[in-house]
């Protein structure tokens, strides 16, 4: 049965942030991400696939696990998929998921001896935000705090670049960072910001068992208000002629060093 015009419109609208926010839904596309969604504890509301997906072994396996998770699985035509899918390269499957709200307060107050959180302050490129989530997932960060001025997590480009990372760790969205950082400090967190002219080399810093590391905007870095609140200003020393380092790369460099210093 073809999708009704109304349904097509409804799905198409989820490519816009405004509608995602209102509906508290989002879309993931492609075998890889839908697989991760099915394995996660996110609620899968409905899914759509094209016939050719079933011709691939991975697609067939995915279909079988998908129908266990939701009864709303529909075969659609390629032209319908082209209307509702965001990605240019054809993926053959998409799922609509319920957004999950993570509260920053519970993230901070979790009763554990070690907590290792990362905040994004105005990171504006979707590819960077996604790649940083992926990096945090690799280095076992306990939670991510997305400041109000950063790109939205449910942006399709962000989701793709996370490579499924957003299903593996709690991410609080739309957070008031100065307020949260003040709270974190009261709860015993040490707050580190990364900046071009920071006075402490990331490799020589003392990382406490409760650490919150803040990465800033691609052009302007961490905002002044957040810088003032921070305990430590980290820098990555430059050895060559480059003017700056990509924020996603800086994130990986710093997180790898924290892990090394924790381990020692």
């Amino acid at each position: 049965m073809p999708l009704s015009k109304r349904k097509l419109k409804e799905l198409r609208e989820l490519t816009h942030k405004k509608h995602r926010d209102e509906e508290k839904k989002f879309i993931v596309e492609g075998v890889r991400l839908v697989q991760e969604a099915v394995k996660s504890n996110f609620k899968v509301l409905e899914a759509f696939y094209t016939r050719d997906m079933l011709e691939h072994p991975a697609g067939k396996t995915l279909f079988k696990t998908l129908v266990k998770k939701t009864s709303n699985v529909h075969q659609i035509t390629t032209s319908e998929m082209e209307i509702i899918a965001e990605t240019v390269t054809f993926q053959g499957i998409m799922a609509v998921l319920r957004q999950k709200e993570h509260f920053v307060d519970s993230m901070l107050q979790k009763n554990q001896s070690r907590s290792y959180l990362v905040a994004f302050d105005g990171v504006s490129d979707p590819g960077n935000v996604g790649s940083m989530v992926r990096t945090c997932d690799w280095f076992g960060v306990d939670g991510i705090i997305l400041g109000r001025n950063s790109v939205e997590l449910y942006n399709p480009k962000v989701l793709r670049a996370t490579m499924g990372g957003m299903f593996h760790l709690p991410i609080a969205e739309g957070v008031d960072l100065p307020l949260t950082i003040s709270k974190a400090k009261q709860l015993g967190y040490k707050v580190y910001v990364t900046q071009l002219m920071g006075e402490t080399h990331f490799d020589r810093a003392n990382y406490e068992s409760k650490s919150l590391i803040v990465f800033g905007n691609e052009a302007w870095g961490v905002s002044d208000q957040v810088k003032k609140l921070a305990d430590v200003h980290l820098a990555i020393r430059r050895y060559g002629a480059g003017e700056s380092l990509n924020v996603g790369v800086a994130c990986g460099v710093v997180l790898s060093a924290i892990r090394r210093l924790y381990d020692e």
Copy 2:
């Protein structure tokens, strides 16, 4: 005087690799990259700008230094710029540069006690290649070796992502990597490849004063042939649930550790 149809076609063709290869030319766009080009020892063949560029102080300054470097500086209309420019966001200035050939043999044989080279084996995403050049530039790598199977350096997306890094260090293109690695070993280089299941943690390795580090394709990693030739197989330990790390991030993590270990 408007650009002739022939000239417009000639410039437009430089957005294709085939023509860049034949002509040994390439295009850089935007104030930032053209500034870097003018400061570099690359030959600027000609440049085109629109009137509104001169209204910005940075544009005016750039214009003054540009005319010292080449007499071929032409004002064109916005619609002409739209035809010849690659970038969607309007930049106001572009320059045509002569490609520079760096030979990998002279890179390897440079007579210096320390040499620290990086090779890309099949890195296929232009954003990754560009970001890795930028990272190598930050960490003061002595030269980059682009394998035949990697994205071309003069791809506009690569150039943009380097943030000018490609003007700061020698980059050899279209290199036969297995052959070059064999030569490098004969010349006393130790060769390191990064791979998901490498047996040496990047943070515990012994980096020799002549080191060649190889990063591989986004999906398949370093090719088997190159892996076999390598002396050390580096890994970055995973602490979380992520399946992989972005190759550009891995590049930053490893290079930062080499710098630390060299310094100690």
